[in-house]
């Protein structure tokens, strides 16, 4: 990227000090993986939300979160050359651009025998192993490393199945959980065996147990901390949450991650006590209702702020639920606890959905946040290259409108009489990509945001009393 452009782009403003500390933290983590490689530590390519974070930590394996590095390239607006390289290798540009960026980078690094020139933050370390974790979550997780093996045939892959059941009317998850849990446990044990073979050392299950304790404690703390954002004005928005997700998703099972949320919790409580919000005059409270952000355009959150809109909540990267609200059987086996945590997370909204006719867990999640965070409108982002997190979003909005009339208000009728009605919940669907900047138009995006703000304004003023 041209130096001039780098200088021109100012650092994005965050509401919390905690969020501002993330950039250097990620940079240090990426630099740390390169140093770890030099020191001969075992490096594993892997994906976030993989469930086995604590297993890797317990085995002293250094994870390289390949989606993260692609996101960094995107955020630094330096993904294009890697995307183009992947395209030149025969991969369609319509595929997951995280994966394309990673594949372009890997092939270039393998071809050169060193990091590609001016690789963002020093580059991505060559792995000793690649750990896929697809199953129901994401096709590219199943295919990315397999494709990368074309350039790194000597690097072994271990694929871990991590299933969870989709929501069905006629089948309660408790009726089928036994075979799901059994398979997840077997898959995790298979992973441990693989890692033991790769590292030549045995798993220390006491250590793993301690790390799972820490992971569970971190989950609960994150939940409690994020719930603080219910406050009016909200002390932290989604723009910041796209930073504060880093310890949750890249560092789970470390004391550093836990301490980060202790700090964030304290900071948010102090801001609430001072009634200090993301912005001075909070006019609209919005829910980021789905979709990964455009990492190169996080400043759009600041643009929303400039219009009086804040995001007290988001479903994206809210990858924890309170453990104390999940069913966790009494067991000393940390592998079993991990399996139940995984299962419990994914079925978390199922029973709530069952109670509302026409509802669905994804829709129920939106409804809960609309109510808990006093939401005025919903924003989603459709990233063209990612089917995993973006298919079904439009339907969720339509289904929400169908089954949920959220905010009872009095409406002034034509005859001048007051009638009971429901306030509208406007929504906006932005369209672009996670890292492919060629799909993005700042002018169009901001025009759409402006129009949405006008809608919010008219709904708020409208004829409601």
């Amino acid at each position: 990227m041209a130096e001039e452009e780098k200088k021109k782009r100012k650092k994005r403003r965050t509401a919390t000090k905690a969020a501002a500390s993330i950039g250097p933290m990620v940079k240090a983590a990426i630099g740390g993986t390169i140093k770890a490689k030099e020191e001969g530590k075992k490096i594993a390519y892997t994906f976030i939300v993989c469930l086995y974070d604590e297993i890797l930590r317990a085995m002293d394996i250094v994870p390289v979160w390949t989606e993260n590095y692609a996101g960094v390239c995107g955020a630094k607006r330096d993904a294009e050359r890697f995307l183009e390289r992947a395209e030149s290798l025969g991969f369609s540009r319509s595929l997951c651009t995280y994966a394309l960026c990673g594949l372009g980078f890997d092939q270039w690094r393998e071809e050169l025998g060193e990091m590609p020139p001016e690789a963002p933050w020093g580059g991505q370390a060559r792995p000793d192993m690649m750990l896929s974790s697809g199953q129901i979550l994401c096709d590219p997780r199943n295919k990315w490393y397999q494709a990368a093996q074309q350039f790194m045939p000597d690097v072994p892959i271990h694929n871990v199945d991590l299933p969870y059941p989709l929501y069905e009317d006629d089948i309660h998850f408790t009726d089928i959980q036994d075979y799901y849990i059994k398979h997840i446990i077997e898959e995790l044990r298979g992973l441990v065996t693989f890692l033991e073979k790769q590292t030549g050392k045995k798993m220390d299950y006491d250590r793993l147990s301690g790390l799972v304790d820490l992971g569970e404690k971190t989950w609960n703390l994150i939940h409690e901390t994020y719930e603080l954002r219910r406050a009016v004005p909200t002390p932290m928005g989604t723009g910041d949450a796209m930073n504060t997700m880093v310890p949750m998703t890249f560092m789970l099972g470390t004391q550093e991650a836990y301490d980060f949320y202790v700090g964030l919790n304290k900071e948010l409580k102090e801001k609430i006590a001072r009634k200090e919000g993301v912005i001075e005059n909070e006019k609209y409270r919005l829910l980021w209702g789905g979709g990964l952000p455009s990492w190169f355009a996080l400043a759009d959150f600041n643009y929303f702020n400039s219009k009086g809109a804040v995001f007290p909540a988001e479903t994206t990267y809210r990858m924890v639920q309170p453990i104390y609200h999940m069913y966790m059987p009494e067991t000393n086996d940390p592998i079993e606890r991990l399996a139940w945590r995984w299962f419990g997370y994914w079925v978390y909204w199922y029973d709530k959905a069952r109670k509302r006719p026409g509802s669905h867990p994804d829709v129920e999640w939106l409804i809960q946040y609309i109510e808990d965070y006093q939401i005025d409108g919903i924003v989603m982002h459709e990233a063209f290259s990612c089917r995993t997190w973006h298919l079904g979003l439009i339907w969720q909005l339509n289904q929400l409108a169908k089954i949920y009339k959220p905010i009872p208000v009095l409406v002034l009728g034509k005859d001048g009489r007051e009638n009971k009605a429901s306030r509208e919940l406007p929504s906006l669907v932005l369209e672009s990509d996670i890292i492919d900047i060629t799909s993005y138009s700042e002018v169009d995006t901001r025009n759409r945001i402006d129009a949405f703000i006008e809608t919010l304004e008219s709904v708020k003023k409208g004829k409601t009393i």
Binding site: L89, G90, F91, S92, S94, L95, C96, A99, S132, G134, Q135, I136, C138, D139, P140, N142, K143, W144, Q146, A147, Q149, Q150, P153, D154, V155, P156, I157, N159, V160, D161, P163, P165, L166, Y167, E168, D170, I171, D175, I176, Y179, Y180, K182, H183, E186, G190, G358, H360, D362, E382, F384, S385, C386, R387, T388, L391, G392, I394, W395, N398, Q399
Partner: protein, 386 residues
């Protein structure tokens, strides 16, 4: 022409053109029709429940309009077309739909289908991605859940004997498809790729016993062809996912190639592998749909850490069918937004290169609107391999 079978091809044409006509008749007789779209659905369980599995098709000539209201345009274009037709009422005769965990386009939109179409029955078949003892056991348990769920809907407890009988019928069906493919082996072939596509597409819209009977009649008729009605030209293989419209195959054949074999979902991928018999039928079904169907969505461990051996292990079936059919060249046809196949394109190309089979790679949308572009590229390719 054999008198008994003289109208067999006009019957196939009628079933192909008015797709679903037999399913509608059966529906009027009180039989439950269950729609599906992927080769990973265990049809044997649907048949054993006394229902008729019906493979939903898209329509490359129908612009996607109403479907876009609830389903994003970044989904698989084939899948979007099927959804669009469903929303427009083309498949109103369905009593239920089964969605497989084939890919993200299917898995992530299960709720979209379920709630939008609001059919009396729906079920998601959750296939694991790995192949191991544990995943087989998991999948078997999932199939048992499906058996109970569908049985409840159909009002019939599905026994092992019911399953065994259905497995027998489908294995018979696969033998007949195999026999049809044998007729593609002569040079020139006895049956064209266009005809085969129609026959197999129609077969997937009928109860398996009727499809078997139809295939018998077709085979009898085709065996009457003492001489091939086709020219001796370049023999083409098609590799890819689902192709339920004749357009591409017909285009190739109109341009002067004979399509003699495929590794497509509704071709050899689904229609040839048998289910083992004699043991636990659910385990045998789990084994077939998880392991025997070579779909890129299922991860197969690379034990060798050697690219060439890895290629052979994953794509050996392509080489096998290409050799068996004496294919001169191949076309790899992949839909836009297809992650499972899309990530394999470079490695599939490498495999075709390793077996020295000239390859044309086409990424396409599920639309007749692209036929002009395809024509230019295929024409150039056929000229190149002359």
């Amino acid at each position: 022409m054999n008198e008994k079978n003289k109208d067999i091809f006009s019957r196939i044409e009628s079933y192909y053109t008015d797709y679903g006509q037999r399913a509608k008749e059966l529906k009027n007789e009180g039989i439950k029709i269950i729609g599906y779209m992927c080769s990973l659905i265990p049809l044997e369980i649907i048949t054993a429940a006394g229902c008729v599995p019906f493979r939903m098709r898209g329509d490359v000539h129908e612009p996607i309009t109403k479907g876009d209201i609830n389903l994003e345009t970044i989904a698989c274009p084939f899948y979007r077309s099927c959804f669009d037709l469903s929303v427009k009422g083309k498949y109103d005769f369905l009593d239920g739909s089964i969605v497989a965990h084939g890919c993200d386009s299917m898995a992530r939109t299960y709720a979209v289908w379920k709630y939008t179409l609001d059919l009396p029955y729906s079920h998601f078949v959750n296939l694991p991605h790995t192949i191991s003892e544990s995943s087989r056991e998991f999948f078997r348990a999932g199939l048992n859940t499906f058996r109970k769920s569908l049985g409840k809907f159909a009002g019939k407890e599905i026994s092992d004997d019911d399953l065994a009988e259905a497995i027998g019928l489908y294995n018979e069906n696969r033998d007949k498809v195999r026999a049809l493919y044998e007729l593609r082996k002569p040079d020139p072939p006895i049956v064209s790729g266009t005809e085969i596509t129609k026959i197999l597409t129609v077969g997937a819209s009928l109860p398996v016993a009727e499809a078997n009977k139809l295939f018998d009649e077709v085979l009898e008729e085709l065996r009457q062809r003492k001489e091939s009605p086709f020219k001796k030209v370049r023999r083409i293989m098609i590799d890819g996912a689902c192709m339920d419209n004749i357009e591409l195959v017909k285009l190739i054949e109109d341009l002067g190639g004979n399509v003699v074999v495929d590794t497509l979902c509704n071709g050899t991928r689904d229609n040839l592998p048998h289910t083992d018999t004699g043991n636990d039928p659910l385990s045998a079904l789990a084994d077939r749909y998880l392991d025997k169907i070579n779909c890129p969505r299922t991860y197969r461990e690379n034990k060798e850490q050697d690219l060439q051996k890895e290629l052979e292990s994953r794509f050996g079936d392509i080489g096998f069918f290409a050799r068996e059919s004496k294919a001169d060249a191949a076309i790899l046809y992949v839909y836009k937004y297809c992650d499972p196949f899309g990530f394999e394109v470079p490695v599939r190309k490498a495999y075709f290169e390793s077996i020295k089979l000239p390859l044309l790679y086409l990424e396409d949308e599920y639309s007749a609107g692209t036929i002009g572009q395809l024509k230019t590229r295929i024409q150039a390719f056929l000229e190149m391999i002359q």
